[in-house]
């Protein structure tokens, strides 16, 4: 195969024009999918108190 000829071919240009956006879009949605389904859930908060004794819970009956 003549590589120099292939490098300038229309087929390569069309192939790359399809492949590059496909890979980028696939990577973007793949990242979003993995982050959504397997990422660490970000809650309302994280454990922030440096001590367990900052607050005391008092139960009352309503």
């Amino acid at each position: 195969m003549d590589f120099a000829k292939f490098k300038n071919s229309k087929a390569l240009k069309i192939g790359l024009a399809i492949a590059i956006p496909t890979v980028l879009v696939g990577a973007y949605f793949g990242y979003k999918f993995i982050k959504k389904n397997y990422g660490t859930p970000k809650g309302k908060g994280e454990v922030t108190a440096e001590s367990k004794h900052q607050n005391k819970i008092v139960f009352t009956k309503s």
């Binding site: 859930p41 809650g43 309302k44 994280e46 454990v47 108190a49 440096e50 367990k52 139960f59 009352t60």
Partner: protein, 220 residues
């Protein structure tokens, strides 16, 4: 130390009827308390988790049987070795591990306590499960680690001055990485709204814990 008041029940929905509620309170007061009351009171003091909450979780998770085992979880508070290991590493990494807790852990873990002692600030994992199923069959150790987990959740899920025991119930039951756990974490509505949008099993967990005729209502 500031007081946070939690009014029980959190919802008028119920899992138990009045007869079951009385039987449950009797089991806690006449069977679980005489057997584990001293340990639970001490751990409640050390971890600052209300003893009523520990009793209720013990009842739901194992009905007070220290030998309760499933393929996934073990003992009074039904912990898995992986969760138990992660809880201790996280607690140490956050700088929240109290002296009394460290002493108790040393007593049960021996040389393995070094794995916890060497945790650096803000480290969340050591990528290793060092707590065994046998460890979790020991009531005091099981209650200590489970209560530390509850204490972390109480801190995380105290929102606008309200302790979201409904969310804690769901996440204790399913874990935070499950679909339902993530739904509960993101939920910003009331307890009743949460109950209507999650599966029956987790909705029942909430009503068992903090609904009308619930365990908490019976012993508070």
């Amino acid at each position: 130390m500031a007081n946070i008041s939690v009014s029980i029940p959190l919802t008028q929905k119920s899992f138990y009827d009045t007869t079951s509620a009385k039987a449950n309170a009797d089991r806690i007061n006449n069977i679980i308390k005489p057997k584990y009351g001293k340990i639970i009171d001490n751990i409640s003091k050390i971890t600052n988790v209300p003893s009523e909450l520990i009793y209720s979780f013990v009842f739901i998770e194992s009905r007070g049987s220290e030998t309760a085992e499933t393929p996934y979880a073990v003992g009074l508070l039904q912990l898995s070795p992986a969760t138990a290991s992660d809880v201790l590493i996280k607690e140490k990494g956050l700088g929240r591990l109290e002296k009394e807790e460290s002493e108790m852990l040393k007593k049960y873990l021996g040389g393995r306590y070094e794995l916890i002692a060497n945790v650096k600030p803000n480290q969340k994992t050591i990528g290793k499960t060092f707590i065994t199923r046998e460890d979790l069959l020991k009531p005091e150790l099981n209650l200590l680690i489970g209560s530390i987990l509850l204490s972390q959740m109480i801190n995380e899920f105290t929102e606008d001055g309200k302790v979201r025991l409904d969310k804690i119930a769901v996440i204790y039951n399913t874990g935070r990485f499950s679909k339902v756990g993530k739904e509960a974490i993101a939920h910003s509505g009331t307890t009743d709204e949460l109950i209507t949008k999650i599966p029956q099993g987790q909705a029942d967990y909430i009503t068992k814990l903090v609904g009308k005729h619930s365990l908490m209502e019976g012993i508070v």
